[in-house]
């Protein structure tokens, strides 16, 4: 594969992409190591994408922090690694196979007989093994066993061949409030670094230009986008992989004055957000599939009282508790079809931190302008993957609320609130802003919100449904990446699939294969004009989805009458790795 680098002792590594994987059990300090390496790489000017794979437990179990980095943008991850750093044996057993032949294996074991089988297989793969007695080094430098991770961090940085100070400064920053262990941590880091510098197998060049990037994950981007868009209340019940939005929001509360409430359950969170939006502020809730199930009655209520509501649904594999810490695109149908009754809604799916930041702002605007629930889909791999993205611009997306304001508030009639209009949208004003009150009635109602069970209620029902056609004009068509026509192979997908396709398009271009990709960000209501054109101009179109049923594909085939040439579907909790797409393309283009 073109992305693969083969670090050797003899020559500097090429600058395409380096794939580093650090493995260790949960609780071993793996996350700290991974995050510091990411920040250090960003500080050196690298682009990177990093994800943590872990089990749903707090201590033990296998866990991996994978970082792909390079001097040009990196959006997705490889399944394989060029450099494997092992903090413990259990995780090594799980992940040693992912190291490529001639790769580098960094470890700190002192009783190597315990991993002799693995070392033998690595020898066959001509792996360059770099080791140091990590535990001894940690204790010699005044640390506990927990400090082994600082030894490994030092070794990793040494193996990459970068300047010590970059990582040294970050460790000082990290431990600055823990004076007792700061010096020990730095000593251990240095000891690890120096243990490998003489034999460092890899001297990576640092990028000549340092791009202006942000390093963050999708959940952080959602929290930032929402706060920027005027979200003043965040209410949630913790559920992986949405929980860190609650943490980011809580950490922003003091500076921004937002109210953050951890509610007693998801029903409460949704209801409080609905009430807060009704009273005229912007509120947000986030959850995962199971929590969203509980919110669905509230989504339905928002539908009939025509109240804005924005819910982030962070997908993980179900059903049931499923795989709590892994990724999926399995809840598209849930987002589109959840809740009793028929009512208009918008479903937006983000793909990376950049469009999570902008998308959530659009979500608020659409929810308010059209007085509807908006479900904002993300996935574990977006929610928790750290990625370098171009800097965010503020105030780029105006705040659109669709509220009656100023003098007009004085001439309202109660029946304006649910007036039967051509486009389905009626006037909305904030309670307390006008002498004219209205009834927001969860029972079917007339234009003033009074309970109405007559035959005429069908008109109110239809009025609400008409909003779907109106708002459809306001949302964008899907986007085509790479060439518009005559691709050797084309894909259609949504959500996080965009990141892997961005990288695949570039890689395949180098090999002379024309790949293009049609991406749906607005997954409901579905616009199909561009898709129809795409089918006219491309002959080999495949579906790409992280679920078993091909949920989007089934809908698109139904709407357009077109058929996909093939489907690449994945539902084992892992995201689409670069290798998955490469292998699929290889099979689909037989002579390739």
């Amino acid at each position: 594969m073109t992305s693969q680098i083969r670090p050797t002792t003899s020559s500097p590594c090429p600058l395409t992409r380096t794939r580093l994987r650090i493995v260790g059990q949960s609780g071993s300090g793996l996350l700290t190591v991974g995050e510091i390496v990411c920040k250090a790489l960003q500080n050196l000017g690298f682009y990177l994408c990093a994800d943590r794979e872990y089990l749903s437990l707090i201590k033990g179990g296998h866990s991996a922090f994978t970082i792909n980095f390079g001097a040009s943008p990196v959006h997705s991850l490889s399944r394989e690694a060029d450099i494997l750093v092992a903090i413990d044996k259990h995780s090594l057993m799980e992940y040693h196979d992912s190291l490529v032949p001639e790769g580098i294996f960094v470890h700190g074991y002192e009783r190597v007989q315990g991993i002799s089988d693995i070392l033998d297989s690595m020898k066959k793969k001509k792996v360059n093994v770099v080791s140091a007695p990590a535990r001894t080094l940690a204790t010699e430098n005044g640390g506990t066993v927990q400090m082994t991770n600082m030894i490994l961090l030092g070794m990793t940085w040494g193996v990459l061949g970068f300047d010590f100070s970059v990582v040294g400064d970050l460790v000082r920053e990290k431990f600055k409030k823990k004076k007792g262990i700061l010096e020990v941590a730095v000593k251990c880091l240095k000891a690890g670094f120096e243990s490998v510098t003489d034999t460092a197998p890899c001297r990576l060049q640092t990028p000549k230009k340092k791009p202006k990037t942000l390093l963050l994950n999708g959940n952080h981007a959602i929290a930032l986008g929402a706060v920027h868009a005027g979200m003043r209340a965040y209410i949630a019940y913790p559920m992986s992989p949405s929980s860190t939005i609650l943490e980011y929001a809580a950490h922003m509360a003091r500076d921004t004055g937002i109210v953050v409430k951890q509610a007693e359950d998801e029903i409460t969170a949704a209801q409080m957000a609905l009430g807060a939006m009704f009273a005229g502020t912007r509120a947000l809730v986030a959850t995962s599939g199971g929590g969203y199930d509980l919110m669905t009655e509230t989504v339905s209520l928002a539908g009939i009282i025509e109240n804005p509501l924005v819910i982030v649904l962070a997908q993980r594999p179900g059903p049931g508790t499923g795989l709590p810490t892994w990724t999926a695109q399995g809840d598209l149908n849930l987002a589109i079809h959840s809740s009793h009754g028929e009512f208009p809604r918008v479903v937006i799916a983000c793909s990376d931190p950049s469009d999570a930041f902008t998308g959530i702002q659009h979500a608020f605007n659409l929810a308010e302008k059209y007085q509807i629930p908006v479900i904002f889909l993300t996935e574990k791999v977006i929610a928790e993957s750290n990625m370098t993205v171009p800097e965010f611009s503020q105030k780029n997306i105006p705040i659109e609320r669709g509220l009656v304001e100023g003098k007009k508030l004085e001439s309202l009639k109660s029946s304006d609130r649910y007036r039967i209009t051509k486009d389905g949208v009626s006037l909305r004003w904030i309670p307390g802003s006008s002498e004219t009150h209205y009834f927001a009635n969860g029972d079917e109602h007339n234009e003033s919100g009074e309970i109405d069970e007559s035959e005429r209620t069908g008109e109110m029902y239809a009025k609400r449904m008409r909003k779907l056609e109106t708002l459809k004009k306001d949302i964008p068509e899907p986007e085509v990446f790479s060439v518009k026509e005559n691709a050797d192979i084309s894909f259609v997908g949504w959500g996080g699939s965009l990141t892997v396709m961005r990288d695949i398009i570039e890689m395949m271009k180098e090999r002379g294969v024309k790949v293009n990709y049609l991406h749906y960000q607005y997954v409901w209501p579905l616009k199909t004009d561009l898709l129809n054109t795409f089918f006219v101009h491309n002959k080999n179109i495949h579906l790409l989805e992280g679920n078993y049923e091909g949920q989007l594909g089934t809908k698109l085939e139904g709407l357009t009458g077109k058929k996909f040439a093939g489907k690449l579907l994945k539902w084992n909790g892992r995201p689409f790795f670069i290798e998955d797409i490469q292998k699929y393309i290889g099979k689909a283009l037989k002579n390739f």
Binding site: T213, L214, L215, L216, H220, L224, V227, H228, A229, G230, R232, A233, I235, M252, A253, D255, G257, I258, V259, K261, A263, E264, D265, I267, T268, Q271, M272, L274, G275, A276, M277, F278, A279, G280, T281, R282, A283, E297, T298, L301, E391, F392, Q394, K395, I399, I430, P431, G432, S434, E435, H437, Y438, F439, A440, N441, G442, D443, G449, E450, I451
Partner: protein
């Protein structure tokens, strides 16, 4: 009701009429809801709270059918969920007077967790618990407050499960305001609702509500014989143990303020980082500068 209050009310006829609608009432003759809404409108008028500043949040049930019979901002939500809905609205705009009402089915079955946490969080909301001891709108099934032995539509041999005691339960949750009143006594309800509106935290008002259609066991006449005014018994409203004691007897029902804790910090007062802000969340919707947070990740 004393003469002065009657005179005040008489002079506020216009304000009272502002809360009236031209909707046809759909409650049964003799239903407690007539008196409750009447007393509520009186209390709002006497407290000089205008319809434009009032948000009534209704649960589903017979009381919810009053959602279009009081002319102010109203929201008629889902069964059991009225408390978080009301809390969300109040947090967004504390300038609104937010009143939530729900029945015994909603409060002590479907949404019992919301009650527990509304009391714990002390949201500044007035909560009117319409306890008519049955699910009336679904035609008279037993609720968790129906006494053992009562014959209801889905319990032809009589209720066998011990009923909950709403007041005993609420008093076990460190509330800040608990009162009980009675739907046939409009004057008493008016007074209690006014007190609840004065309270700065979560006001739990238990209304012993008659249901002439489905609850023949505890009629207005029955209640009249079994209630007593705690004020006349020199009850100490800040003594929670005294309150717990007087709510234990199912045949001797206390009316009045049973417990009040003026020291408890309500939810809004506990959000300390907003102490310096005079605006409401509703007034603060605009682009918020996030440069400070972006710097940390650049």
């Amino acid at each position: 009701m004393d003469k002065k209050t009657v005179e005040t009310l008489a002079s506020c006829a216009d304000q009272y009429m502002a809360y009236e609608t031209d909707q046809v009432m759909t409650w049964c003759g003799g239903c407690g809801n007539y008196g409750i809404q009447n007393a509520l409108k009186r209390a709002l008028v006497l407290e000089k709270i205008k319809p434009r500043d009032t948000l009534m949040c209704f649960d589903v049930g017979c009381n919810g059918n009053g959602s279009d019979k009081i002319d102010c901002y109203t929201i008629h939500g889902l069964h059991g969920r009225v408390l978080p809905l009301a809390a969300g609205a109040k947090i967004a705009n504390p300038k609104l007077t937010v009143i939530a009402s729900a029945g015994d089915g909603a409060t002590f079955s479907e949404g019992v967790s919301h009650l527990v946490h509304a009391i714990r969080s002390d949201y500044p909301v007035v909560f009117l618990h319409h306890d008519n001891q049955n699910y009336a709108l679904t035609t008279g099934q037993a609720s968790s407050t129906t006494p053992v032995g009562c014959h209801k539509t889905a319990t032809p041999d009589g209720v066998v499960t011990e009923n909950l005691n709403p007041l005993a339960m609420v008093l076990g949750l460190s509330p800040s305001f608990v009162a009980q009143t009675f739907s046939a006594d409009v004057d008493h309800m008016t007074k209690i609702f006014q007190e609840a509106l004065h309270h700065k935290g979560f006001s739990f008002v238990q209304i012993l509500q008659s249901c002439p259609t489905y609850n023949r066991e505890t009629s207005d006449a029955w209640y009249s014989e079994h209630v007593f005014d705690v004020e006349k018994e020199k009850h100490d409203v800040e003594d929670i143990w005294a309150a717990r004691k007087i709510v234990e007897n199912p045949k001797k029902l206390p009316l009045g303020i049973l417990y009040r804790n003026p020291q408890k910090k309500n939810f809004l007062d506990s959000v300390l980082h907003r102490d310096h802000l005079k605006t409401t969340l509703t007034e603060e919707v605009r682009h918020t500068d996030i440069s400070k947070f972006l710097e940390k990740i650049s």
